[in-house]
Amino acid sequence: MIPAWLTLLIGPFVVLNVVIGLVTYITLLERKFAARMQSRIGPYRVGPHGLLQPIADALKLMMKEDIVPHAADRGIYNLAPIVFLIPCMLIFATIPFAPGLGVADVNIGILFFLAVSSMEIVGLFMAGWGSNNKYALLSAMRAVNQIISYDLPFIFSALVPVLLTGSLKLGDIAAVQQGGFWFIFYPVIGQLAFIMFVVSTLAAENRVPFDILEAESELVAGFRVEYSGMKFALIQLGEYAHMIGSSFLGALLFLGAWSGPGPEYLGPVWFLLKMVFMFLLVTWIRWSFVRIRVDQILALSWKALLPATLALLIATATVVVWRTNGF
């Protein structure tokens, strides 16, 4: 008989490994998708249709030399990838993948998600500062600017489904959308909130057109320019895990989570497909836009997105009050 404390660990262990597996293969999906957009073939050599490419990449990264720059702040530099990775993995803790299937569907699920996902900035800044590199420092500076600017619109747009449901518990939000009442179909409010959510997710995930942290053309690789080998892999893993987590959140908040035709046990599959849809939406945007400048990004957030999400939140609250109480 396994002890009780061990059973508690089984769920997290499974989720963690599934997420790592998802990350490795979603990179292949992204590369294939991007290749199609650019009239290329994409990875093709390793395994049939490049299916073993992610494994080859991971092996390569493990075998790379781990370089620490001479002038780097060793402690901070070595700790940063881990500090970055932990919040990116923690966000999966409160996501229910099917009714009752998840690590912990706590009653403040979405609050936990939003709080933890904005903690990744600590790791980012440590990486940028600890590297003792000017590109990395500039990138870390931009990271702080951007995350502060886009957290509020992100939270506000994610709060719209919360208001419509009346619960902070992710399981409840998913449950009220069963039977096709997805929040994206909610007249006007649903679509607007979805668009704003996608835009602010892009910024929170540091994806093009908001990838000023990475900015290959001017900052080379931004905060991770000095990282190599497994430390680089950890940062990459964290970034993609965050992206998958946000895609799950988007699918849950707006696309009805596991609701879909077919028997109930297909629920997780539907959820996964919707997550992939969200991910490909972000990828599609990534490969069609140029990056915008740091001042333009901040202006977009503070002058347009923040007032818009705030107005939408107030409108939603009004609608909810009106529908429950009448005027």
Partner: protein, 387 residues
């Protein structure tokens, strides 16, 4: 006049916002070769830029003194390797001017066809790399880059079937050109330029209806009309600042007066204006190629006998300066001949070199990201800058 306020320097005991000095280059994703910009930053804003060149110096001008008139054209292509046809063109024109060598009409037309195809190929590479500068190697810019490379590839295929080489040609020779068109080349060329003509329109739509592209390109890196004249820039940069100067029109050479084409001019002087000028130039170059193929006269392709030895061409004493309108502006070649088979002295006027000197005037005051966009819009090729 040089505006001194734009050339900021970091003084000792500076008490303003903290400044850092950052190297962009010589090994940097944005440097289009090996170029080093030492930028001084106040936060994200660039207050001074110091351009350092010379990393790609290969003694081209000295080399020209050791090579004969028959040998050097294929080496001349290595100065501006993105538009190799152009520099060959300038070199043979300078030699012909001293030697008073006639060029048959057919050869002149073939020269025009190749020069214009080269302009299209060069602008395609510019469009791709410039968008990549703004979008990043892994971002949206790379999509346009790969499309452009696909089209450039078609033109390189044309050159390959004509000359046998894809990058450095040696197609131009004193007195004419080296090869005549192979069978079916004209039809293949027409099909290619028709396809490119149509796809240029697609790219225009992709970019100009993209608000993020417009936000990055409009109002960035403004070169005023006066500054453009003072610094002596040429080509699309000059025409983007409102000066209708194009050597093909102002000082026609190689039968350019036979063709009907337009010189695009924009008055804004920003990155977007330069982009517009080049987009129109694509179409005009394609138009010239079509006309040249239609009107291509019969006859010999060279006024000189076929080459048997490298020292066969001897040119009388004299000196001359020949210039052609390359994709990046005026490419000039100053040549002094001493009567032997090799020039006594040779000097290049590289278009990229002159254009690059605009950078310290326009970059200060912009954000770091704009440095890359402006540099891309200037379209420097460092083979031509350093020679």
């Amino acid at each position: 006049m040089l505006d001194q306020s734009t050339v900021a320097r970091v003084e000792l005991d500076w008490a303003g916002p903290e400044r850092i000095t950052m190297n962009m280059g010589p090994q940097h994703p944005s440097s289009h070769g090996v170029f080093r910009a030492i930028v001084t930053l106040e936060g994200e804003t660039v207050v001074a830029v110091d351009a350092v060149i010379g990393y790609l110096h290969r003694c081209h001008e000295k080399l020209a003194e050791t090579l004969t008139y028959a040998q050097y054209p294929s080496i001349a292509s290595k100065t501006d390797y993105v538009a190799a046809m152009t520099s060959e063109f300038a070199y043979v024109m300078a030699a012909e001017e001293i030697g008073k060598v006639e060029v048959p009409k057919r050869a002149q037309y073939l020269r025009v066809i190749c020069a214009e195809l080269q302009r299209v190929a060069s602008h395609l590479l510019w469009l791709g790399t410039w968008c990549m500068d703004m979008g990043g190697a892994l971002g949206g810019g790379a999509t346009i880059f790969l499309y452009c490379i696909r089209e450039r590839e078609d033109i390189l295929d044309l050159f390959e079937s004509l000359v046998g080489a894809r990058l450095l040609y040696g197609f131009y020779q004193v007195g004419g050109v080296r090869y005549d068109l192979p069978d079916g080349w004209a039809a293949q060329c027409r099909a290619t330029i028709d396809r490119i003509d149509q796809r240029i329109g697609e790219y225009e739509q992709m970019l100009e209806q993209n608000p993020f592209f417009l936000a990055r390109a409009k109002g960035v890196g403004v070169v005023s009309r006066e500054l453009a004249q003072d610094v002596g820039i040429a080509g699309p940069l000059l025409r983007g600042s409102g000066i209708p100067w194009d050597l093909r029109r102002t000082a026609p050479y190689s039968s350019y007066e036979d063709f009907d084409f337009r010189i695009p001019v924009e008055t804004d002087g920003d990155c977007f204006a330069r982009y517009r000028v080049r987009m129109v130039e694509f179409r005009e170059a394609i138009k010239i190629v079509r006309q040249a193929l239609d009107k291509l006269p019969a006859g010999p392709i060279s006024s000189r006998p076929a080459l048997k030895s490298v020292a066969q061409i001897r040119i009388q004493k004299g000196e001359s300066y020949a210039r052609v309108e390359g994709p990046r502006g005026e490419v000039g070649c100053y040549l002094i001949a001493d009567g032997s088979a090799k020039p006594y002295r040779m000097k290049w006027r590289g278009a990229s070199f002159s254009n690059l000197s605009i950078l310290p005037h326009i970059i200060p005051g912009h954000k770091v990201a704009d440095v890359v966009a402006i540099m891309g819009s200037v379209d420097p090729v460092f083979g031509e800058v350093d020679r």
